[in-house]
Symmetry: C2
Subunit: 351 residues, 2 copies
Amino acid sequence: MTELLSLERPVREGGIHALPAPYLLFLGDIVEPGYAKTAFGLRDWAGDRCLGEHALPAATVTTGLRRMTPAEAAAKGARAMVIGVANPGGLIPPAWMPALLAALDAGLDLIAGMHAQLSTLAPLRELAARRGRRLIDLRVPPTDLPIASGRKRTGRRLLTVGTDCALGKKYTALAITRGLVTRGVDATFRASGQTGIMIAGDGIAIDAVVADFAAGAAELLSPDATPDHLDVIEGQGSLFHPSYAAVSLALLHGSQPDLFVVCHQPGREEMLGAAGYRVPLVEAVIEQTLMLGRLTNPAIRCAGVSLNTSGMPANAADRAIAWTSAHLDLPAADPIRGGRAFERLLDTCQA
Amino acid sequence: MTELLSLERPVREGGIHALPAPYLLFLGDIVEPGYAKTAFGLRDWAGDRCLGEHALPAATVTTGLRRMTPAEAAAKGARAMVIGVANPGGLIPPAWMPALLAALDAGLDLIAGMHAQLSTLAPLRELAARRGRRLIDLRVPPTDLPIASGRKRTGRRLLTVGTDCALGKKYTALAITRGLVTRGVDATFRASGQTGIMIAGDGIAIDAVVADFAAGAAELLSPDATPDHLDVIEGQGSLFHPSYAAVSLALLHGSQPDLFVVCHQPGREEMLGAAGYRVPLVEAVIEQTLMLGRLTNPAIRCAGVSLNTSGMPANAADRAIAWTSAHLDLPAADPIRGGRAFERLLDTCQA
């Protein structure tokens, strides 16, 4: 096993993935933009790590990046091809294989965050071994993680938490990081999920870690830093989600955040994938995050609320943001819309 | 991998370990009774599954069970040899190998709950494959576990929770099960850790499950049952432990208990392995368990307190039990001491 592992898991510091870049984004034969979220996320948030895109003739979706073959990308300095699309079921269809093999042949590593793992496909494994290339499956649990110590680390930390899954915790953390860096703050985005890791170039997929080590992985993710440094940590799940609350708690305890931002989508009523479970109020999430977060950081406080208003007209979004801010007496903003509301949220994140 | 997995992980119902019995208990070359806790636990709580013990000549510890070789045990119907001792570091020393190989040779499976895995040792792997025997590593994460659904299941459930790790959650669950079964209650002990699994003969090591699936594993552990059936579920960790709270929360949410018993060791001041973290008050654990447990079972309530008074003289233990019961207005008992206090605790568990 050991040889295989070192081939498939490029790690540094005991379990943190560190990815080869720049990337060529692979779009497969995708015709539905909703399945290309990873590719769009990489284009929007890690543009400097993306050289171009590669798609099969059947594909109709594009990121707008320059189209090139794996060989052309390799000649321009690409180091890996990232599977930037998912298909229903998270499988790797046979139609993609020639392109994946061509990438290995051209000297690129392959990176995937899907449930189906690259390393389970014999033709990829064999060619990768022959060419000395790596198959990087971001859902493979890292090895050699420590048990959390609970020791207080130096530097400052901010964690995004949520009323539910999949409503903008990653985007919020990225937007806050970008906004603060623009202001000259020494801030780093810390990725805890597959797409976040591709964007940041490193990180740990917390939900893929064995439960006993999940808080330890979160500790590793945001190490000791200088006093004015801020780690902005991508949250996962929700403390109120019956399937994933444990992942959220491990991340909260291990991150020991000084600040947290609650992410919420107005109008979402039922928890994703949990029939009968109502989305909690933002104030309930604030209260529970404070109560549980105090275990590892007694000074934890809420910096504000991030609203995902992507499905709302601009005036309704503005009203929801203003109402939330007034009602909770906290900054509230939609980071994607930005504006003065977001600048006020950045003020408290910076303070 | 697939062939290897089916060899090494005897599972039923997607991930629950189901162990071959009766057992021969292997004591290695142990001279320190503290390292033979697993063997003693099996003798005390699963005596009907234990045929005898096998030790190397250097061993000075005994369970009092009949000594026999693996071949003798196999002739009497044993189906597996269980490694019933740990040594510092959790390794399998070379001195044990001849006995382990002899057990496989005699037709026994091998069962271990140590950090070092049987299946990483080539001589064991090879002989097991040749003889068609299984190497059962209880710390290997089960595969094919479901994501928790949060769906309310039929039947009743009791979970033991703790102010810290390693203070009697397993023994409390076992003693409550035994006490209730003696009273004619239809109760089943559900094991969530390695030793518990060996005792019960099946279960899932929750702390070895990937975080995303931990609550799902807990759901699987106590399936739908008849309305008067009670599952008594072995707890893990503590909601107040900075390393393991996520495991405890997954177990709480997935178990959706109607009742819980708080396990506590009077006099323990610092959390195990977490320097600077004070053991919480029993009432804090009650409050937080109620608050978090309500997510998946709004009717959750505290049945009482189990005190581990093993280090105290009898009169001090009695005083601690009486004080705790009066102070919290709840039944309190040391299940190992039993007596009227424990009968009162059983009354509320049965009610």
